[in-house]
Symmetry: C2
Subunit: 223 residues, 2 copies
């Protein structure tokens, strides 16, 4: 259990063919390592600019070896999206199950999602281009992404309805929140001076406060 | 003069070789049309995936014709960044010259920037990959982008110092704001139901309110 702000947040790991056998677990770990390498390469050079050779080299594999885990570059891109969305949807489910008030749920969701971005695949997968995917795979990713967006809007709408959040367009609020969070993948440096906990807390404070009818009078902590 | 929210905002157009001669003005307009087409193509397919042919076709030109305006694809990408940043920096200069209180300046900056994203190049240029640029061009773009970021942080720091904004890390607040705004390029549909004025107002309300020590008790307008 990881400590985030004043709350415990249990990270949920998406099941990537993890069965009980050690060999399967090794395969799953290898797949995730490939996805991390690929997500970084796609973000830096774009899908068309990133080569399977470079992705394989970064995890000390040959190209031929990598094809044991993924059929082609498109399959890797799909798995990047699928993996990240799996984590995001598991977070959403945990938050919504909690039955806390909407401002509390929004805070937990933002803190958890920021950690997904900073700690998993450096979040890049969630912001990658979708156009390189074939229509069937694309549809599946868009459907799962829509499910996440709907969950976020449901929390926002409930908050507005209960008078906890100021009135307004939940869809636009949701876009602002997702943009602020997804953008982290563009500037976050794991070796930099700001910890992922600080980012998570600052973003949650800022983005919940902006919607709250009765925000706290001052920031929760002076710097 | 365009009406934005409760403020008049004079859009400032970046000088793209616009001299007094009509021919030069035609050339400049043609260049901007190419940049719009290119920015859309780069966003959809990535720099490496977008072809000069497709960019030319979208503005009803031949590839050879397009090379009269730009030396190569990298020059187009550079011009996209340069054009967008010119508009953004002109907006920043106008806002900072105004000597208004920081919350008012931040509101004007957000409203103006959202309009840049929705109305100019569909903002995509500002979020495009930089890695495809050669080192000299890349340095120039990064330096101008840093200048914009420093301007935003200066407004935020002044607000914190004056007790208008809650204490906190101005750099992180700035990243949250830029992320929310830049992300608009990913979901905005000019033919969709939400106008750019509504987005500008909602984002300004939300993102200024989240920092304000004394936010307005309710939203400025019920939906």
């Amino acid at each position: 259990v990881r400590q985030i702000g004043r709350e415990n947040w249990e990270p949920v790991y998406y099941n990537l063919n993890v069965r009980s056998k050690p060999r399967s677990r090794r395969v799953a770990a290898r797949r995730v390592a490939i996805l991390r390498s690929a997500a970084a390469a796609f973000r830096r050079r774009g899908f068309h600019g990133a080569s399977v050779e470079a992705i394989a080299r970064a995890v000390r594999m040959t190209k031929g070896n990598l094809y044991y885990y993924f059929a082609d570059k498109e399959a890797i891109l799909y798995a990047c999206h699928d993996y990240s969305l799996g984590l995001a949807l598991a977070l959403m489910a945990a938050v919504r199950r909690s039955r806390q008030p909407p401002d509390r749920q929004l805070r937990r969701l933002i803190e958890g999602f920021v950690h997904l971005i900073t700690d998993e695949l450096h979040g890049s997968a969630l912001t990658l281009e979708l156009d390189a995917l074939g229509p069937a795979r694309r549809r599946r990713i868009v459907a799962r992404r829509d499910r996440f967006d709907r969950g976020l809007r449901a929390i926002l709408r409930r908050g507005i309805r209960q008078g906890v959040f100021v009135p307004g367009d939940a869809k636009l609020y949701g876009f602002a929140i997702m943009g602020a969070m997804n953008w982290i993948a563009r500037w976050y440096d794991p070796a930099g001076p700001v910890s992922s906990n600080e980012i998570a807390r600052t973003f949650a404070d800022y983005l919940v406060r902006g919607l709250s009818v009765r925000p706290r009078a001052t920031a929760p902590r002076t710097p």
